[in-house]
């Protein structure tokens, strides 16, 4: 519910921010587009204006030069034809001839009152004679538009000239003309497909040369006023007229039929004319619009791509969020399922616990009721024992599982003999298998590596679990087979690949069950096996241990055909170390109700060099120990089984402590996890625990540990190996000192011989074969012969080792002069009393190097 709320909230937030971003980007991009359009628009305006000004100026100067050329021609005409002293007829014909030569289509003289006398060509009159004539009268040159009788327009060039008129009066100017086309063609004013359209108007605004492309039509009107009729925001007729009057340029924009047109006016010299250029904007606009539309398209495209990216990201994010929520949901469901499985397990467990508990309670009641019927009580007790075992197994499994689940189960890798381990497993399984009359084959083939580094106890647990499952799920008379074989390991030469196979021909498992065989708290919940005890944790524990050992477990099974478990491990090879397993010759008592275990333990202990005794019951053990205690010859270690007939191990320990005091180490042997009774055991005086089965290595290392040899072991590891089999001669007159020294030395493994004084020491040495003694410890003050004398005598003797055998002084005198005297007498070193193992080890190390 909350998840959904959060989901909605997230979705709303995402959608809102997405929409916000969308709107923002649309606004940003359109703002950018509009701004850019404006900017380019004004830029184009500017470009247009510059272009038009340039063009107009060019045309104006062109026009000027054309006009000037014509004026020069007329001036030249006047200057080459003098007016004086000539016959009028001859003068005129001369003028006409020269004018024709200069391609003037018309020539006339103009009187000061505006009277035109045509010398050749059609009669022509300026359209607006007054300013023209006035200019000539003033002696200026002038250009103007005129009209012949047919209405054809011509351009008039008037210059000051003083020729006689027909009536004899002097003329005020000579006027020559060319057709208007001459000018327009020359200026290319009205060609098709031009960017610009031109027309020429006078200073007062009246049109001189019209342009059909512009099409103002009525030339009699004034342009500034005409233009006012168009849509004009910028344009002002007044400003235009002023500019025309003052011979200034003028630029503006007008709109014709909704299309923008650029207007530019520039005055033309030598005339009252102005060149007007008009450029329709749509030409430039076309380019600009293309640009604009392209830019708009790209902007929209960019906007869209950004949006698409964002949508993709948004969708991706949304998807991820959803995925997370789904995962959350899934893990929640898993947790629920797990807790459900646990509750189911608890329900099953309470059934499983209740069954043996009921048996115990019931049997106890029956036994109490028939307390005098020994046979019946025995039967009850047997059943109680059975049920207790079941219960204990169950509890151990649960404890293991809880260790695994809390991550507290760790492996203790130690040098383990696989052969011993298998022997142990087999001896444990034997009774179970026998009781169901099953056949049990053990095959150990092809093993070259007997010792490997692994957690033997856990590996043992795995094998026992698989084997006990095999016996449990195999009917009476079935066959169980355990095999071990070795292969070279892919991990390298230092590793060995071990295969262990547990096979039975029992009831087998279905494929569905195989899938969840390693799940905690699962059990093939079928009626046929309902009566078989177990918590359903064994396989989970097994799987966990195998995984922790970096091994593999495979299972193949067929219902009613049998099951095969195949374990594969890559173990690091360990050195075989049988030879190292030697302990001091302690007196030891082993108490266990299993005679077979006692006997095999005896054998093992004997190989360590321990003198051991055994007994089957706690009561007997107490008797034996107390008797020895009275003799002052106590056991040095007592091994107690936890479960004993009659009083149990802890009670025995308590009793022993009461009689013997606290110094003798008592160790408890147990096949079970002792954490549940550890506190009680410690309180009863138990010093430590050894787990069953009692492998050789288990015994050796535990005994060594509990007897305090572990510490010196690390210090004197080399020496232990070296000193074993060595012989040391110890000269000491005092029995106590001798005992102390020999006791401490014996922990390092050598054989120690006693010489009671210097004399005996010398004799023993001289009688010994060469190389018999490895070292001599020498007390200094001894009767008959002191240590000094003995050392000197040994060095002087004829014995082959006389010079080489190390002699170490062992004295209460630790003054430097004493030490010096020892060295002077041929001794190699000095150990001061009291004797300390660490110091002896050090000195021996030096002397025997």
């Amino acid at each position: 519910m909350e998840g959904r709320k959060r989901k909605n909230h997230t979705a709303r937030f995402l959608i809102a921010s997405f929409l916000g971003l969308l709107i923002f980007s649309i606004i940003a991009f359109s703002g950018l587009g509009i701004y850019m359009t404006r900017m380019s628009h004004s830029a184009f305006h500017e470009i247009g204006q510059i272009y038009m000004a340039g063009m107009s100026e060019q045309i104006a100067s062109h026009f000027e030069s054309v006009i000037k050329l014509r004026f020069n021609q007329v001036h030249a005409l006047v200057s080459v034809v003098p007016s004086d002293g000539r016959d009028q007829e001859e003068l005129y014909s001369e003028l006409v001839y020269r004018a024709r030569a200069r391609d003037f289509g018309y020539l006339a003289l103009c009187s000061s009152d505006g009277n035109f006398e045509t010398l050749y060509g059609e009669f022509i009159q300026p359209l607006n004679p007054e300013p023209f004539v006035e200019a000539l009268v003033r002696g200026e040159q002038r250009v103007a538009i005129g009209e012949d009788a047919e209405g054809k327009e011509v351009v008039l060039f008037g210059v000051d000239a003083d020729y006689p008129m027909l009536d004899g009066s002097p003329s005020t100017g000579l006027v020559a003309a060319v057709p208007l086309e001459y000018i327009t063609d020359f200026l290319s004013l009205n060609k098709e497909n031009q960017m610009l359209s031109f027309c020429v108007i006078r200073d007062d605004g009246s049109i001189v040369i019209d342009n059909s492309h512009i099409g103002f039509g009525d030339t009699s009107r004034y342009l500034p006023e005409m233009l006012e009729a168009y849509d004009h925001s910028e344009y002002s007729a007044q400003a235009f007229s002023d500019a025309l009057q003052n011979d200034q340029t003028y630029a503006s924009t007008i709109k014709v039929d909704g299309k923008e047109q650029k207007l530019y006016s520039i005055p033309l010299s030598n005339s009252e004319w102005n060149l007007i250029s008009i450029m329709p904007y749509n030409r430039i606009n076309g380019v600009m619009d293309t640009l604009n539309s392209q830019r708009t398209r790209f902007t929209v495209l960019a906007c869209l791509s950004v949006l698409v990216c964002m949508i993709l990201i948004f969708i991706g994010y949304f998807h991820m969020t959803n995925q997370q929520l789904l995962e959350l949901e899934a893990s929640r469901r898993t947790a629920t399922e797990a807790s459900k499985a646990k509750s189911e397990f608890l329900a099953n467990m309470s059934h499983d616990i209740r069954t043996p508990m009921n048996a115990i309670v019931g049997m106890t009641a029956i036994a109490t009721a028939h307390i005098n019927d020994t046979e019946q009580v025995k039967g009850c007790l047997r059943k109680i024992t059975l049920s207790s075992k079941q219960l204990l197994g169950l509890i151990n499994d649960v404890l293991d599982m809880s260790k695994i689940e809390s991550g507290k189960m760790t492996l203790t890798t130690e040098n383990t003999s696989l052969i011993d381990l298998f022997e142990g497993v087999v001896s444990i399984m034997q009774p179970q298998v026998n009781s169901k009359k099953q056949s049990f084959d053990v095959h150990v083939d092809n093993i070259t590596t007997e010792n490997v580094w692994c957690d033997g106890v856990r590996l043992n647990q795995v094998l026992l679990n698989l084997l006990s499952n095999a016996t449990k799920y195999t009917p009476e008379g079935g066959a169980i087979r355990l095999s071990l074989y070795e292969e070279s390991s892919p991990k390298g030469e230092n590793y060995a690949r071990m295969h262990m196979v547990v096979k039975d021909n029992g009831i087998g498992m279905t494929q569905e069950f195989l899938k969840k065989i390693y799940d905690s708290y699962s059990r093939a919940d079928e009626n046929r096996i309902h009566k078989i005890e177990g918590a359903g944790l064994g396989m989970a524990i097994t799987k966990y241990i195998v995984d922790a050992m970096e091994g593999a477990i495979d299972v193949s099974s067929e219902p009613n055909q049998g099951t095969e478990f195949h374990l594969t491990f890559d173990f690091e090879k360990a050195p075989a170390r049988e030879v190292d397993m030697v302990l001091p010759a302690w007196n030891m008592l082993v108490v266990d109700d299993d005679e077979f275990l006692c006997r095999s333990t005896m054998d093992t202990l004997k190989t360590f060099g321990i003198r051991a005794e055994w007994t089957l019951s706690g009561e007997k053990a107490i008797e034996l120990a107390v008797a020895r205690h009275k003799r002052g010859d106590d056991y040095q270690i007592i091994l107690l089984d936890w479960k004993l007939p009659g009083i149990n191990g802890i009670q025995v320990a308590r009793e022993l402590r009461r009689h013997l005091g606290k110094e003798i180490p008592i160790l408890l042997i147990s096949a079970y996890d002792w954490s549940e009774f550890e506190t009680e055991a410690r309180e009863a005086g138990i010093d430590g625990f050894i787990s069953k089965p009692l492998f050789k290595s288990t015994l050796f290392y535990n005994l060594r540990k509990f007897m305090g040899l572990e510490k010196t072991q690390s210090q004197a590891q080399e020496q232990t190996a070296e000193l074993t089999g060595r012989r040391i001669l110890l000269a000491e007159d005092n029995e106590i000192n001798w005992e102390v020294a020999s006791e401490l030395l014996s922990e390092l493994g050598p054989e120690v011989e006693w010489a009671e004084d210097g004399q005996i020491c010398l004799e023993k040495f001289e009688k010994s074969p060469a190389g018999y003694y490895d070292l001599i410890f020498m007390d200094i003050r001894m009767p008959h012969m002191t240590g000094y004398e003995a050392a000197q005598a040994i060095r002087k003797s004829s014995h082959p080792d006389a010079a080489s055998i190390p002699i170490i002084a062992m004295s209460a005198d630790a003054f430097s002069e004493d030490i010096q005297r020892c060295l002077d007498c041929g001794m190699n070193g000095h150990v001061a009393k009291p004797i300390d193992l660490a110091e002896i080890t050090k000195v021996l190390e030096k002397a025997l190097k």
Partner: protein
């Protein structure tokens, strides 16, 4: 009475001896043996006979045993006499002898008490 109390009683160093010999059993065995040790008697007899070399050897051996068994006070007194005899200062040795006897007696008595308490 346990071993530690016994050591405390005659002024010995229980932790020291356990540190070296590690097992109470061994220490106990050696203590019992000490009951039979004749070096002190040898020392007294030699002193009386003025056989100082023999006395020195005996008290020196006693000193060695004391060291091995961490008999603090007895070691001190035996050590002083050893030194005196080595320097042939027999008068000083004779003066120190009663102290040695007292310390020795305390040790012997403590061990005897301990033994009887164990055997009970």
């Amino acid at each position: 009475m346990n071993l530690q109390e016994c050591y405390e009683k005659f002024g010995g160093d229980y932790d020291g001896v356990m540190g070296r010999l590690r097992r109470e059993q061994l220490v106990r065995k050696l203590l019992y043996k000490f009951l039979d040790d004749k070096n002190f008697e040898l020392f007294e007899a030699s002193m009386q006979r003025q056989e100082y070399d023999e006395a020195l050897r005996a008290v020196h051996t006693l000193k060695g045993v004391c060291q091995n068994l961490s008999f603090g006070q007895l070691y001190e007194s035996s050590s002083r006499i050893t030194l005196a005899l080595k320097e042939k200062d027999y008068g000083a040795a004779a003066e120190l002898a009663p102290q040695l006897a007292a310390d020795y007696g305390r040790v012997m008595q403590a061990i005897a008490e301990y033994q009887s308490s164990v055997e009970e």
